[in-house]
Subunit: 440 residues, 2 copies
């Protein structure tokens, strides 16, 4: 084993980029313009020597010579003068095979690609481990928020119990505005689209798929289990009614779209899900507004932690890419690598069928004698006890808002189905999980 001397910067680590969209361009800009400061700080010199782009004809404002650009990503991966590969193309194809090819050549890879890591992360991490090089992906979850590295390194000896994140900026923006303005989902979505906070085709965000990819990555990392996004039961926010946000506020809750991964010790299994939930307004996640993201971690020793920041955007995401590049480059020069999560024990994966949760249930009812008793009996018959009940309105316009104690989710579903079929119940208007607040 040899060690570099303290001030030996060593040969320049030559970096090849695959892709050069907004995140790629900003990463190239930071690595190039702050090169000297990065070297001084980290002890390693990094140079961007090749960038594969889709279309060489596009005008780009990059602080590198035009000769650095190519339209052949496979050649960048294979080139003898590329030591480290940064993948910022997105998607699984061809990004996945390019990343795999780089790892097969024992070249460390930095990726910002949540789609790829959610679909193939565990297999790629195994490949990286076999090749004894780093595959780093801080930018894939929470943009500029350092969350992957703390979970990997600082908490190396921790038993994580639960990870709960607001990991999609678009839905958090929409829910924040619905909450603060009392506006409806459709109106806020349209405005968010006009302002550029939501895509014209918003399904990846509002239906929870983007959050599910991040939930899979966080669950894989926190519990050392191979969780893919297809393992993540997912609900989006299209069905959220601003009326329930207002009622939630009155009851002390805020509605957020959460990516939740938890370990069930008895079942030795991990459950990763995405759903909108009411969380207590004193909970640290409750104050994460607009497009900000945050990841809340509960550990056996460290207790409750939260990591907050911009979950997207060129600057924050590029910052995470650059941090990973510097780390991987330093490891490469030192003949070292970081810890690999795939070394951990494998647990099973739960489907949520026997999960328990508190619930918020709103029923539109007729305000006449006996209805409340029948509804309460439907819940009691299924073993679901009620923590609070709020009845409002009169006669045909009445509504009944209930918060349950923690119950088996399947029992709540069954109770709600029975209650919904009762004569005096006109409509099941809302059913939403409630996050209990143990010690906020």
């Amino acid at each position: 084993m040899t060690t570099a001397s303290a001030d030996d910067v060593g040969p320049t680590v030559r970096v090849g980029f695959l892709g050069c969209g907004t995140v790629g361009a900003e990463s190239v800009r930071i690595l190039t313009q702050r090169r000297e400061a990065i070297t001084r700080y980290s002890g390693v010199d990094v140079e961007v020597v090749r960038i594969a782009v889709r279309d060489l004809g596009v005008e780009r404002d990059l602080p590198v010579p035009d000769t650095v650009l190519t339209d052949d990503p496979a050649a960048v991966v294979a080139a003898d003068d590329i030591d480290l590969v940064v993948e910022v193309m997105g998607g699984t194809d061809p990004a996945g095979s390019l990343v795999a090819a780089a790892l097969d050549l024992s070249k460390p890879v930095v990726t910002a690609n949540k789609t790829l890591m959610a679909a193939d992360g565990p297999a790629l991490l195994d490949k990286a481990r076999a090749a004894n090089v780093d595959l780093l992906y801080e930018a894939s979850v929470g943009g500029g928020i350092p969350i992957i590295r703390p979970l990997t390194e600082t908490l190396a000896g921790e038993y994580v119990r639960r990870v709960m994140g607001i990991v999609n900026g678009t839905t958090n923006y929409i829910l924040t505005r619905m909450d603060e303005e009392g506006a409806g989902f459709d109106a806020v979505l349209a405005d968010a689209q006009a302002l550029g906070y939501a895509e014209a085709e918003p399904s990846a965000d509002v239906d929870g798929h983007d959050a599910a990819q991040k939930a899979a990555i966080l669950a894989t990392l926190a519990f050392g289990t191979r969780v893919h996004d297809t393992d993540v039961p997912t609900e989006g926010i299209r069905g959220i009614d601003a009326h329930d946000l207002g009622l939630g506020r009155r009851l002390g809750y805020v509605v957020k779209l959460l990516a939740v991964a938890e370990y069930d010790e008895a079942a030795d299994a991990v459950l990763a899900r995405v759903f909108p939930a009411m969380i207590p307004d004193s909970h640290p996640l409750a104050n994460v507004r607009l497009s900000y993201n945050a990841v809340f971690v509960e550990g056996e020793s460290a207790g409750r932690m939260m990591f907050y920041g911009h979950g997207a955007g060129a600057g924050p995401t590029a910052m995470a890419v650059v941090g990973d590049v510097v780390d991987a480059a330093r490891n490469l020069r030192q003949g070292a690598r970081g810890p690999h999560v795939s070394r951990r024990a494998l647990h099973g994966i739960k489907d949520g069928a026997d999960a328990t949760s508190q619930y918020y249930v709103r029923l539109e009812v007729e305000d006449r004698p006996g209805v409340l008793a029948e509804i309460a009996r439907a819940f009691g018959d299924h073993g679901v006890s009620l923590k609070s009940v709020l009845q409002e309105g009169r006669e045909a316009d009445a509504e009944l808002v209930m918060i349950t104690h923690a119950s088996r989710e399947a029992d709540v579903d069954a109770a709600v189905a029975v209650a919904g079929g009762l004569d005096g119940v006109e409509n099941v208007a809302a059913v939403m999980r409630v996050v209990a607040d143990e010690d906020a």
Copy 2:
């Protein structure tokens, strides 16, 4: 340069502890009881083989044989069978010379000692760099909150503008209770002492000295400048009146004791200070309650980030120690080491004389014609403009509450001195900085 094969755990890294109080004992417990899981996860095997304690006669419940204990810390540092030293004694003497001795022997050191790092951190980090080994200190600031590693690694390419932390749990606990109960400082302090949240001799906490040590460490790290705690102008919370917390709430502010480190590009200098301040109630730091800590970081690329969790306590602090031990052990086995902050450029240190800030000023005044005009003139004469004015009460019991726009602090001091001497002004009841909220 050689690389370890993927599954080669390598020889056990033998750890010697200096000190075994609550943090030390919990660190030993985690390293011992989770040894197998840590190895599986991190690829390195760590064993606690020696623990230096002050008094061998004390009964201890440790999961190690009694033969591991010794009362000779220097022998632990020097022992051939100790590869890595963990310093959890606290204080500067003899901890400082023991840490230095370990580094001189090229043994990596993990420390939880904020007093030592605030007093001698820069020199010790230089020594670690010269010896080409790690000196890690995640536990010294923010207990179980990963903050040192994100600032060191994830943000390696970032230009940090400002770090602002709630880094003392005792003062935050006192301020939270004063705020929520309307109780006075003395009463809450007495209760906090009875409950074990404050020491019998509370000066290190309530006068801001503990926070100043952490401010020095954060400033050193964030700006690559050698800041010592003696460079940190410090104000505590003894003078805080619950009445101002109530008025602050009405104006949309919460009072917190902040450790603030910022870089002034024009002066090429760092200003690190500790003071109580009003922060907007929509700011992420505003909701950090009771003994929780949080560090808020503003970077040029990544924007606003916050790291939140338990700032103290055996479990959280031990978790940070264990993360550092695993990291240093892995680096040791790979012949590598992490980045060393002392490589960075050195900036000057500012004393705050020409700092600018918004201010909250409360004056007890006579409610008679002309007083407000005279006060406003005193501020205007010093170039301090008022953002809002609130006058309450009548006649001799009136008070005037002003929020200024950002102004030179020396000008505000001068204006307040003049206003305080005016005929109709009975008392300058409170002067406190206000943190502007750019984009919460």
